[in-house]
Every structure is written in C-alpha cells, then in structure tokens.
Amino acid sequence: MRDLKTNYFEDLQLFDNRVQVFWATVLLLGLFALPFMVKSYYLTIVNLMAVNVIVALGLNLLVGNTGQISLGHAGFVALGAYTTVFLLKMGVPILIAMAMSGVVAGLFGVLLGIPSLKLEGPYLAIATLAFGLAVTIILGRVDALGGRMGISVPKINLQWTGLKYDTSLYYFIIIITIIAVIITRNILKSRIGRAFQSIRDSDIAASAIGVNLTKYKLYSFAISAAFAGVAGSLWALYLGFINPTLFTFILSITFLAVVVLGGLGFVAGSVMGAVVMTFLNLQLENVVDIPILGSIVMKFSEMFMMPDGVSNVSWVFTGLILILVVIFEPLGLYGIWLRVKIYWKRWPF
C-alpha cells in the first residue's frame, strides 16, 4: 500500500519509506543524547556493542554473503589493535592509524583468503583457526609491542571537541560504526555484493556468468578482515590497554555466534546480533540472582565446570539461546524481526 515505487533508484536508496527515516532519526538522536543521560559505564557497553557490530558486519559479509568461513577473526582484530597502538606511539594521527589497521588486517585477510581458493568448509575452518591462534602467539612474543604483558594505548587528541574524553571517544566510535553499516549495506546492494552472493549460492554458475571466483573470494576476505582491523583499532582506543590474551579463540567463536544469532547474510542481522550478544555476555551473569533457578544453575555449574561458576553460567545460557535460535529461526534475530513485521502488516489476517 505504501511501498509503490516510481523509479529504479528507490531500490538503491538507504530508506524505503518515511517510517524508516523516522525510526532511523529517533535512533540517531538517542545515540547522540546518550552521553548526557547515562553514566560513562554504560557508554563503554555501547562502545563494546559498536565494536562488535563492526566485526560482525565484516564477518557476516564473509560467512553469510560469500559462504566462506573464518574461525580466526580475533586475529584480525588483534592485528588492527596492535597496528593502531604502534602507529599512535609513533605519533601518527588516529584516522590514518585506523585506516592503516584496516589495510594491514585486509592484507592478512588476502593471505588467509588464498587457501579458500582450494579449501572448503571444515578444511578452510581449520586453516583460519590456525591463523587466529598463530597471530596471538606471535604478538605475545614481540617485545616491542609489550609481549605477553601487554601495552598501553596512548590517548588520542579529542580535546578540540570540547567534551569529556569518554564522551568524545564514544561519538567517534559511533560515527565510524554508522559509516561501516552504510558501507556494508551499499557493497551488498552493488555488483560486488551480488558477486559475493553468487559464489555462496553456486560457484559454478557464478564463474559461468563471468564472476572471477579468485578475485571475489579474496575481496571478501580482505573487506571482512579490514572491518575487523578497524574494529580492533577502536577497541584498543577505549580499552586503553591491550594484551594478546584478549584475542582468544573463544573471541573468534563468539563473533561467529554473533553473526548466526543475528541472521546470516543480513546487515540488520549483524547489528542486532552484536547488540544482543554483547548485552547477553554482560548481563547473563545476573541469572544467578534469579530466586530458585539461579541457585540451581549455580550449583550445576560448580559441580560440573570450573570452580569459578559465574562466568560459566553465562556461557551455558549463551549456548542455550544460540541452540534455540538456530532450531526455531535459522535467519536469527533478523528472521524474528521479519516475522513480526509481516504479522503487523497483515493484521488482522
């Protein structure tokens, strides 16, 4: 009723209708007003969500849209983080340092993409897994970067904004994240994005209609890694201190879980997945405070898992939620959102 289109450009523009424009504006205003409404602890949570959104966008492009797999994305995040720290210490401005983080991670992405030309599925998974592990171990051996003890991240110059450091850093991260969302969305709508999806759906047909498989698989790895690199750069900035143990194998797996939870192949899925997963990771520990259930779960965790029960409890629930999502809604949170939308559009039918 309201989606009648009158020219082809309407299929390319960012928003389909005024309702979307309205909600996007509300979201933007909300994000803008946030620092004036909440304590800075909550800003760091939103920062963490934003960083995860950027990684998820990149990983979803690779996994959801190109149909490749990576169990080593924490490695790219680490490369990005360390590149930024290294360059900031040399006195390079942050924007250039961040761009270089993307470039360095992207180049390593191409390197990791090379096996993907020959390997598929589980074999590629193992290759990327090895990469992720190797990066952390190697970084831990480089004394110039603080070795296993870690290294502190210089504060960047944001005084010109006239705001508190935390607040201006928050705006910086949010702006980069919004740009990343728009870029990803545009890439996916374009010939490049279609080429990625053609490789996912049928590589034989893709090459038969003129898609260069080598080139586009490597592109996909490069873009995906570059996003992770930029995310790593931002993560380093707001953490203020990084060491190799941050970028574990579990982190790579979590990124993959974010993408699956959000919805494979959808930009909105990456955003939803990252926001919800970050929230769950931080808040599920509070499960132990629920009257009866909490103590049962806690006992279970103490009996069968590590002595430190609290963090395990949150993982158990994260796993449970993931399993339920995969079983009941393969398109993840985005799929649930779609269903709700269709339900309201068709109501009362």
Partner: protein, 258 residues
C-alpha cells in the same frame, strides 16, 4: 575459418572417454542442436566449451581465438553464455538480482566506488540504473515482471528455467549454450521455449547451441544437428537427414534383432 569450431576434442574421466575426438563447427546465427542418448557426453562437451573442464586434447576456437586454457569467467566475458541441465540459479536471491548478475562483467564499479551507492549522484548508482534498465528489458522479453522481486527458490520450475535463460541473455552473448532447455517443462511451456529460442536468434542475433532430448523441438527449430554417442560423432547435418540416420535410430532405439 569457421565462426565456432571444435576440433579433435578429447575428455576422459579415468578410463571413460566422455568426449572422444569430436569435431564440428557452428556458423554464425545458427540454431545448432546436439542430440544423443544419456551419457553420450553432451553436457561434458558444454562443460569443456565454457571452461569448467579441461580437455586433454583438441581445440575449441571461437572467432579464431582458442578457448581451451581460458577460465570460465573469461570465456563468459568473451561472449559465450550458458544454462545448466539442473538449474544453477542463485536461489537465495531475487529474480532481479539473478539477472542483474548477468550484467556483472558489463558493470565496472570498483569496491570503493560502490560504497557510495545510496547517493543518487554517485557513479555507482548511475551505472546500476543503466544496467537495471537493460535487465528490465530482459524481464519484459521473458515476461517475468510479476516474479521480479521474488526469491527464485520459490518460483515454479518453468519460471526458474526462464530466469536462468534471462541471466544468460543479460550477458549479451554471441553464443548461447542451452543444456536441455525444455526438460521438465509442460507442453505449453515447451511451445513457449521454442518461440523464445527462435526470437533470441531473430531479434537478438545470438547463435544458439542446445542439447535436447525432445525430438519434436529439435526438428522444429534447429538448422543443423550433431548426433553423438559414447563421446563420438555419429553424424552431423540437416534435421531430416540426422533424425532418419540409421546410426542415430540405433543409438536411441537399439539394434534390430532378427
């Protein structure tokens, strides 16, 4: 020198000679049929032509250029498009996106320029719209308007075949390879397919090489026919000659036993 020439082509899988010393040529704007029983090597031949398989010996020349050794995407770019026997569509994409993919090589926007796609003034958006118009022409031609925004996995079989045809046409090829275009279609859809293949030659000036088991269709539209069995050429010539050829009848129906 011919327009499209295959000479002494051999392709074997282990001990099985799927294509065995095959030689034939196709003229420009011809509708050329390839027939033969199941397992005769017809699809293998197509896969050799469009670069999915590497033949051991022989040559495939199109406008004097050797195709063997080129990658599939280069061959597609050089003017040979194809469809597949078991529809190979991008099933999680819409009809529109599938056919837009046929324009992939014709479009030039780089990874960096497409980042601005949502701005009306951007080069990428302008290019996208130019090619969108071409794709809409193909959608009109194949009467797929009402399926434009549907995921192809949800389309009926006959329409999926048309989308695949449309995607191949979007490449604006010089030669179109159709692998069993009528298989699995209803009688009505078969008649329509005949009509479209004729139009593709007449209106778009494309040379069509097709594999088909439906002899009525072969008889109706082909200018010349190549019959193969066990990878070898049985005969080649005008429809009436080939379809009545004793070797062809034997290959399809078996030996007459007294």
């Amino acid at each position: 020198m011919g327009y499209f020439e295959v000479q002494g082509l051999c392709k074997s899988f282990g001990g099985l000679k799927a294509v065995d010393n095959l030689t034939f040529s196709v003229e420009e704007k011809e509708i050329f049929a390839i027939i033969g029983p199941n397992g005769a090597g017809k699809s293998t031949l197509f896969n050799c032509i469009n670069g999915l398989y590497k033949p051991e010996r022989g040559s495939i020349k199109f406008r004097g250029k050797e195709l063997i050794g080129m990658r599939s995407d280069q061959i597609a770019n050089y003017g040979i498009a194809r469809t597949f026997q078991n529809i190979e569509l991008f099933s999680h994409m819409t009809t529109l996106d599938n056919i837009m993919l046929g324009r992939h090589k014709a479009m030039k926007s780089s990874v960096f320029s497409v980042m601005g796609l949502s701005f009306k003034k951007s080069k990428a958006a302008k290019e996208e719209l130019v090619h969108r118009r071409k794709v809409e022409e193909i959608i009109d031609f194949l009467e797929l308007e009402s399926y434009r925004m549907q995921y192809v996995a949800n389309l009926p079989y006959g329409k999926q075949k048309l989308v695949e045809l449309g995607r191949a046409l979007a490449l604006e090829p010089d030669i179109l390879l159709l692998d069993e275009p009528a298989a699995g279609l209803t009688q009505e859809e078969k008649d329509e397919m005949i009509f479209w293949i004729r139009d593709i030659r007449k209106l778009l000036g494309i040379t069509v090489i097709f594999i088909e088991h439906n002899m009525q269709m072969v008889k109706k539209i082909s200018d010349r026919i190549l019959a193969i069995n066990f990878g070898k050429k049985l005969t080649e010539g005008l429809p009436a000659e080939v379809l009545d050829h004793p070797e062809v009848i034997r290959a399809y129906l078996g030996e007459v036993v007294d």
